[in-house]
């Protein structure tokens, strides 16, 4: 029987020749990633009286949610994890030094096409951009993985988004995924595996593809896959010497539904509070006053995102009433942005640049919102209370929109700003 990419990945991982949507399988995990969630994994293991890990070489641990520790409680959490890492000789441990998990994992060569990767973070779907089956799990399930290296999976149904057309200038993959969330709702991929394909995807950079796969989580996706191409293979080979076998969907595989989108005329998109599905074109958002502009996160904190903001902010200033917070997604991104002069441009414009971390995206530190404040953010969620006060508002958009809005102090169409019309 022909198989989708999700079926291929789960068939290989479970040692079956064939699996089909709806089957329950026990699969071997190729890589298990945990951030500070590891502290709760350790608690679960201790409660169960298990003091072993299945394979210290297949576990990756790093700190990104509270890095460096902003409170005594989180410092204790880090300490507990560091001790666990030493005791169990976890090979790949990056402490607070590397950045956000979903950027660091591919950078450090831990994401390989065809493999099955679980993480204690919902945005683990990001690895689908490399043709890897990445999915988020909770800390109890991760404790099971740490102990046994195996986990049960229900083989998901698959849907496909076929995307064509050249993205207009100042329109990005973030606008594509927001458009999808707005058009089809935040449950269109519930329990399902998404495959993105088409000429627009082929032309996209690896970083832009990662934004798509990352935010596909917000439409419910279990996996958000892009079949590997030359770009994928050359990126992965530049990051790891470990062998891997890319998997591809069969041409006659069965999809529950195929959605076709032409993005040639797509406008920048904005998700209004308090749902990712509450999306409107920028023309309906222009003029909304903002107090904070946040550029960063696992969704849009990569080099091309920082470069996009620098393009807007070059020889411009952040509006005096706006705090613009920039957080590169990783140390490597930060370093490259320094070398390229991007950080200098952002600093000169009046942005505040923080160390690579999740920061205010999930409301833990580095720029929380007070009651009544509004933030335009390149991150992934605008839930009530997500970035601080439950009475604050979060608008989600691309790095271009975030930067243009920071300049004007209100939500701004980057195309108009750059053409001198805003």
């Amino acid at each position: 029987m022909p198989m989708t990419l999700a079926e291929k990945i789960l068939a290989r991982a479970s040692g079956n020749k064939e699996v089909a949507a709806g089957d329950y399988v026990t699969a071997k995990i190729d890589v298990a990633m945990a951030h500070e969630g590891a502290a709760w994994v350790i608690d679960e293991l201790m409660k169960a009286g298990i003091d072993r890990v299945w394979d210290p070489e297949r576990i990756v641990i790093l700190f990104d949610h509270w890095a460096p520790a902003p409170t005594e409680l989180t410092a204790e959490m880090h300490k507990k994890i560091r001790e666990f890492v030493k005791r169990h000789k976890i090979k790949h441990f990056y402490d607070i030094k590397a950045g956000i998990c979903h950027q660091v994992m591919p950078e450090m060569g831990h994401v390989r096409p065809g493999e099955l990767i679980v993480g204690t973070d919902s945005h683990t779907t990001t690895y689908g951009a490399f043709g890897a089956g990445g999915t988020g799990i909770g800390t109890t399930d991760m404790a099971v993985v740490f102990a046994t290296g195996e986990l049960w999976f229900r083989v998901p149904e698959s849907i496909k988004f076929r995307i064509k057309g050249t993205l207009p200038k100042y329109v990005t993959s973030k606008d594509v995924i927001l458009k999808i969330a707005g058009e089809y709702g935040t449950e269109v991929a519930q329990y399902k595996s998404v495959e993105f394909e088409g000429p627009t995807i082929s032309n996209m950079s690896i970083a832009s593809r990662m934004t798509l796969s990352n935010m596909a989580m917000e439409i419910g996706a279990k996996f958000a896959l892009i079949a590997p191409d030359d770009k994928t293979i050359s990126y992965v080979k530049s990051r790891t010497t470990k062998p891997f076998t890319p998997l591809y969907p069969d041409p006659d595989a069965v999809y529950e539904k195929v959605y076709e989108l032409d993005v040639s005329d797509l406008e920048p998109q904005v998700a209004f509070p308090h749902s990712i599905g509450n999306v409107k074109p920028i023309s309906e958002a222009e003029g909304i006053k903002i107090d904070q502009a946040f550029l960063g996160s696992c969704t849009n904190g990569r080099l091309e995102d920082l470069a996009a903001a620098a393009e807007i902010l070059k020889d411009r200033k952040v509006h005096p009433d706006v705090r613009m917070i920039v957080i590169p997604a990783s140390r490597e991104v930060y370093l490259e942005a320094v070398r390229a002069g991007i950080i200098e441009t952002l600093l000169k414009a009046g942005a505040v640049v923080c160390n690579p971390t999740c920061g205010p995206c999930m409301g833990t530190h580095l720029g929380l919102l007070a009651a009544g404040e509004r933030c335009i953010s390149s991150s992934n969620r605008n839930f009530k209370g997500r970035m601080g006060s439950s009475k604050a508002e979060i608008y989600l958009a691309s790095p271009y929109v975030v930067a243009a809005s920071a300049v004007k102090g209100e939500i701004t169409d980057p195309r108009k700003l750059m053409e001198g019309k805003a």
């Binding site: 709760w40 909770g138 399930d141 409301g363 833990t364 009530k384 209370g385």
Partner: protein, 166 residues
């Protein structure tokens, strides 16, 4: 066959109740005995005080959307919620709930069939959901055997412990 039945007083919630609403990120590093006092705080600051052990939640679509934080189902369980029955769930929340031993069930029409304070009776192995107060019976798809096995063991780790033979 494993039989899991729950009977409790209903708390009614809407669509898209996300994990930041259930357990806000700013409290996430707190120990569970403190974190649970903030459960559902953004939409009902008194929820943790008012909920009684054995109460159940009836919700709309996409319950638990957002983060993979297991604290969300756990905090609900810790304040005494015995089960969540919703029109639909976000994937990770659903899986986490099963893994920590909180019964959850997808049941179409449940939102309309219940008002706050009604008494719900649910059988997770047959999928029968009853509004005892109103005399309405709904049929949901029962949980698959694997999930029932995890729930009756009390969670995924408890099941693992059994398998380790300890």
């Amino acid at each position: 066959m494993t039989i899991i039945k729950v009977r409790g007083r209903v708390w009614k919630l809407g669509d898209n109740i996300d994990t930041d609403v259930i357990t806000p990120g700013k409290y996430l590093s707190l120990p569970m005995d403190q974190l649970k006092l903030h459960v559902l705080e953004p939409i009902n600051p008194d929820f943790a005080k008012m909920v009684k052990p054995g109460d159940v939640i009836v919700a709309g679509r996409n319950f638990g959307c957002g983060s993979s934080r297991e604290q969300a189902p756990r905090a609900l369980k810790e304040v005494g919620i015995a089960a969540v029955v919703a029109e639909s769930f976000a994937r990770i929340f659903f899986r986490n709930a099963i893994s920590i031993g909180l019964p959850v069930l997808i049941c179409e029409g449940v939102s309309k069939a219940f008002d706050e304070g009604d008494i719900l009776e649910a059988d997770f192995s047959t999928g029968e959901v009853k509004n005892v107060t109103k005399g309405i019976t709904l049929r949901a798809k029962p949980l698959p055997p694997l999930m029932l096995e995890i729930l009756s063991a009390g969670g995924a780790l408890e099941l693992l412990k059994k398998k380790f033979g300890k």
